[in-house]
């Protein structure tokens, strides 16, 4: 959770405009009930899966598998989020064109972070009616090396 808060606060954007109270992709009440150790274990699984995609890409050279720089960016993001106790996403998938998408769902919203290149990702949040409530771009801060919302 702190990781996501930092991600927003570093850029001076009110976090509740982009990410709900609690600073994570989950509503605070849900996030607080999630055991940190369990989340760290899930992030580890997810990171292992992304590392496997990198190897597969080399073998298969298939357009739908994630590009190396995209996978590297997504893995870095996952490590950052895991280190700071953020809830793991519901899914991480190759999303076509070499991209990777992470998705969080709650009854009140859906959040997707899609990694599209080296140090670059898109962020989108849908409200409970399925409308886009926020869109932004995440770029790596060369100093902190973390992905930050551009605002």
């Amino acid at each position: 959770m702190k990781g996501s808060m930092m991600l927003i606060q570093d850029n001076g954007i009110a976090r509740d405009r982009i990410i709900p109270a609690g600073g994570t992709a989950y509503a605070a009440g849900i996030a607080l009930t999630r055991p940190p150790n369990r989340e760290a274990a899930l992030w580890k699984q997810a990171i292992d899966q992304m590392l496997a995609w990198k190897k597969t890409r080399i073998v298969e050279n298939c357009e739908d598998y994630p590009a190396q720089d995209v996978a590297d960016t997504a893995i870095d993001f996952a490590v950052d989020q895991s280190d700071t106790g953020t809830s793991a996403p519901d899914s991480i998938v190759p999303s076509g064109g070499g991209r990777i998408a992470m998705e969080w769902n709650t009854p009140s919203e859906t959040i997707i972070v899609e990694f599209i290149g080296l140090g670059t990702a898109s962020y989108i949040r849908f409200d409970s009616a399925g409308k886009v409530a926020a869109r932004d771009t995440l770029r790596r801060n060369p100093q902190s090396r973390r992905l930050q919302l551009q605002g």
Partner: protein, 154 residues
């Protein structure tokens, strides 16, 4: 749900698109999903077109591919034409596609007469920010009325 008006659901044997509202449709999912739970919530991204990257790599320029259940079966539809790999499917009704404000266009292939597309969800329009935002909402709506099926061998 998008802002577009919701059209009446086609009730006859053939809609304007040629696919009856009661027809079931399959969308092949990209392989390799990681899920925090054993039951995967179908990711919204599976309903977005592959992006345009260059004039040589157009992505899903005609729309996202689907299969009409009337002309195939789930096991056949689950097989990727490029690798032969079997993957899970999202299943939804044509009536839901129409209700969301999208259409279905038959696009039979030599080896796959059941192939069709949802033309509004295409990579060329996705280059436009406003159109892409509408696509994002359509894709989420489509996801929300889909169910995951895992044919034998996937």
């Amino acid at each position: 749900m998008p802002d577009t008006k919701i059209p009446a659901v086609p009730s006859g044997p053939a809609s304007a698109t040629g696919v009856p509202g009661a027809e079931l449709l399959y969308r092949r999912l990209l392989p390799g999903a990681w899920s925090r739970a054993p039951t995967l919530v179908i990711p919204q991204r599976y309903f977005m077109p592959r992006p345009w990257q260059s004039d040589e790599r157009l992505g899903d320029s005609d729309g996202i591919s689907i299969n009409c259940a009337l002309l195939t079966d789930a096991v056949t539809a689950s097989r990727r034409p490029d690798t032969g790999e079997r993957v899970p499917l999202a299943e939804f009704a044509a009536s839901d596609v129409y209700r969301i404000g999208l259409s279905v266009r038959g696009a039979p292939l030599p080896k796959d007469p059941s192939h069709a597309v949802i033309p509004e969800l295409n990579s060329l329009d996705r280059r436009d920010t406003e159109k892409e935002q509408k696509m994002e909402e359509w894709a989420l709506a489509l996801r929300n009325c889909s169910r995951l099926i895992r044919p034998q061998g996937t």
